[in-house]
Symmetry: C2
Subunit: 191 residues, 2 copies
């Protein structure tokens, strides 16, 4: 049977901003500028960064991913969260109701968000054609194995299926470090 | 069949010092003093800390674990390693030949070690009686599962068996955060 192999993208801490917050932080009428494209079509790392201020510390330069979204969302690892003193829940991207808050500071202003800070649940983006070929449904929970001297099986990996997605598994830096993997590593979906 | 359940101890970054290095850092004739006992009999967290200086950053207060050992050994997570700019190999405790170096600074002096910095390989301490009951051999590689919303199976978990050990699985902070577990969590050894 065909092995179900997925490439890994390791998500370092990053932030998505609403256009309203872009303008508070960078000035009225400002729009994000693209530094480089990401694996998912239309998404990019912006040239801009923001300062993130928690109760116990700050990250001076957190990369913004564009384009602007409907809601601001900061994604950090659990290690990051401890180090600056925030307590985000583990959530799927976009599900931010009741999540943690934080203060953001840009060159032109600052804003405190009441929610939007999460630890992102690991997930795989599947193009519809990949999902159909492998018999995988949107929202299905999968198990993915990585070999090597820090071999692990990640459970509870959420399948996300869309004709707009490219095949890519997203894990955070804690997960990557725990498994001894990095960008370009390959995992296998197992039963 | 009896479940093989093991309690978790999460190892934050810490250091073991040789008596020679204790005296360089804290003064001639100095001996470490106990703050609190650890899970393994005779081992303790010391009141003393040292500053650890890497090429890109420092940790101002790294806890010393006592008593003094034959060789100095600094154990960090991969995240820690990136943050201060050291590149330690994944190793079993005690196996430090050719590992990474770092500079240590105490109240009375400093010392640069050429080797001794490692990322500790995950392992389980078994008292001989636990190992016999469960049919586990010293050095055997095990698989240990944790449930929950960040469920994982850790592979390549090294069994260490001794009449001097108490049952305890040691993982680092990256591994604990990736699995969503903390001190007091319980894993299950699986086939």
């Amino acid at each position: 049977m065909e092995q179900k192999l997925v490439p890994i993208g390791v998500s370092a801490r990053h932030i998505h901003l609403s256009q309203e917050h872009v303008e508070i932080l960078f000035g009225e009428g400002y729009t994000l500028t693209e530094m480089k494209p990401l694996s998912q079509p239309g998404q990019y790392a912006a040239n801009e960064t923001v300062e993130v201020i928690g109760s116990k510390g700050t990250f001076p330069k957190v990369r913004i991913l564009g384009p602007a979204r409907s809601h601001t969302q900061l994604e950090v690892s659990r290690t990051d969260a401890f180090s600056i003193g925030v307590n985000p829940p583990l959530r799927e991207s976009g599900n931010i109701a009741g999540s943690a808050g934080v203060t953001l500071k840009g060159p032109k202003g600052e804003v405190t968000i009441e929610e939007g800070v999460i630890v992102a649940a690991r997930h795989i983006h599947f193009h519809t054609s990949d999902a159909e070929r492998w018999g995988i449904q949107d929202k299905q929970l999968l198990r993915v194995r990585f070999g090597g001297d820090r071999g692990v099986v990640f459970e509870q990996v959420i399948a996300r299926v869309s004709p707009d997605f490219a095949l890519d598994m997203h894990i955070d830096t804690d997960e990557a470090n725990a498994a001894g993997v990095s960008n370009g590593s390959t995992g296998e979906i197992i039963e």
